[in-house]
Symmetry: C5
Subunit: 95 residues, 5 copies
C-alpha cells in the first residue's frame, strides 16, 4: 500500500454500469514527510474518506477485495484512513 492524501474527486455519468454509485477520489502520493511525491491515482473510496485526509490505498487485483469494489473494473481502493504513523522513530498524528 501507499500513503496518499485525498485532494479531489471525479464525476462521470458515462461509465461501466458496475460503477454506479461508486465514489471515485483523487489521491496524491505522499512521502513519509507528508509531501506530495509527484504522482496521483484515482481510487474508489471504500471507507468514507474525506477531503485532505491521509489514507492508504491498495492497487491491482487487491483493490477488488472490498464489498464496494468486488468484481468491478477498478485498480485502486482506499481501504484505510490513517490516525497516525511512525517512521524512523518519529510519530505523526493525523486525526
Amino acid at each position: 500500500m501507499k500513503m496518499g492524501r485525498v485532494i479531489g474527486s471525479v464525476v462521470a455519468t458515462r461509465k461501466d454500469p458496475s460503477l454506479e454509485g461508486v465514489k471515485l477520489l483523487v489521491v496524491e502520493n505522499l512521502t513519509l514527510d507528508l509531501k506530495a511525491e509527484g504522482g496521483y491515482v484515482v481510487a474508489v473510496d471504500a471507507v468514507g474518506a474525506g477531503s485532505k485526509e491521509v489514507v492508504l490505498y491498495a492497487s491491482g487485483s487487491s483493490a477488488r477485495q472490498t464489498s464496494t469494489t468486488k468484481d468491478r473494473p477498478v485498480d485502486a481502493v482506499i481501504m484505510a484512513i490513517l490516525d497516525s504513523f511512525e517512521a524512523h522513530g518519529k510519530t505523526v498524528r493525523l486525526a
Copy 2:
C-alpha cells in the same frame, strides 16, 4: 485508475481471436493540469469514448472486469468518461 486523453486508435487484423470486434484506443496519460504526462497506453474502450475525451482507465486484471474485456488478453480498459473533476479545490468541467 489514471486519467488520460484519447488521442488515437490502432488497427490490427492479425490478433488473438478473442479480440475480434474490440476497439483499441491510444490514451496519453494526463497530469491533474490536463497536460500530457509523457506516457501512453493502448486500452480497450468499454464505454464508447470519443477522440480527445478525458477518460479513466484501469490496468491489470481489473481491466478484465467489464463485459467487453472478460477473459481477454488485455491489460487496460477505459471504464469511464469524465464529466468533470475537482482537485485542490478547483473544479474542471470537461463535457
Copy 3:
C-alpha cells in the same frame, strides 16, 4: 497494452516444462513516433509475429488469457500485430 517492435528472440532448453514449444520474443518498447523508448520485455508470441514487426503486448495476469499462454508462468504476451495506428490525427501504416 504497449506498442513494441520485435527485435529478437531467446533460446532456453532448461525451463519450466509448461514452456515447451512456446516462442519467446524480445520486444523493445516504442514511443508513438516509433522510436525505441528505452526498455524491453521478453514476451510469448501468440499471433505469429515476425522480426521487426510492430506489435501490441499485454502484461501481468492478462498475458495468460490466450490459448498459448494459459496457466503458464509468463507475464507478457504479444496478442496483436499492428496494421496501422493513428495518433494526434496522423495515421501511420505499418503492414
Copy 4:
C-alpha cells in the same frame, strides 16, 4: 520480492472491516548495499517482523497468499525476515 527495512508502522481505526487485527508496517526499499533506495511501501506483517529488521516483501495478488492476508484488500506482505544474504560473492549477516 524486494528487500526492505522495517522503519515504522501505521495506525488506522477507520478501515475495511477485514483489516481488523492486521499489523501494517512501513518498509523502505533497500539496495543490495543496504542503503535506502528512495521508496517505501506499507505492508502487512505475516511473520512477526520487528523494527529495523531486513525483510522480504511480495507485492500484488501474491501478497494475499498468506493466512494473514487471504481475501483482504492488501497489495504487499512481509513474508520473510532475512538472516543473511549473499550478493556478488559477499555475504552479509543480518540476524
Copy 5:
C-alpha cells in the same frame, strides 16, 4: 519477462511456512548488452539456476504458475535459463 543474472541468494529461517524449502535467488536486471540495468529482484528458483547464469524471470501472479511456486506468497520466479538470445541481428551465446 525480463532478463537477469543470478548474483546471489538470501537465507531466511523466519518466514511464511509455505516457503519452506524454496530457494530464493538475487537477480540483477540486465540490458540487452548484458550490463546491469540498475535494479534487482529476489526470485524463486524453479529451474535450478546457478550463480552468474543469465535467466528469465516472470513477475506478479504469473510467478505462481510453476509447481514450485503455486499458492505461495511470491511475486517473481526464474522460469528459464538462457542458452542464447538474439537482438538486433546479433546472437549472444551464454551456455
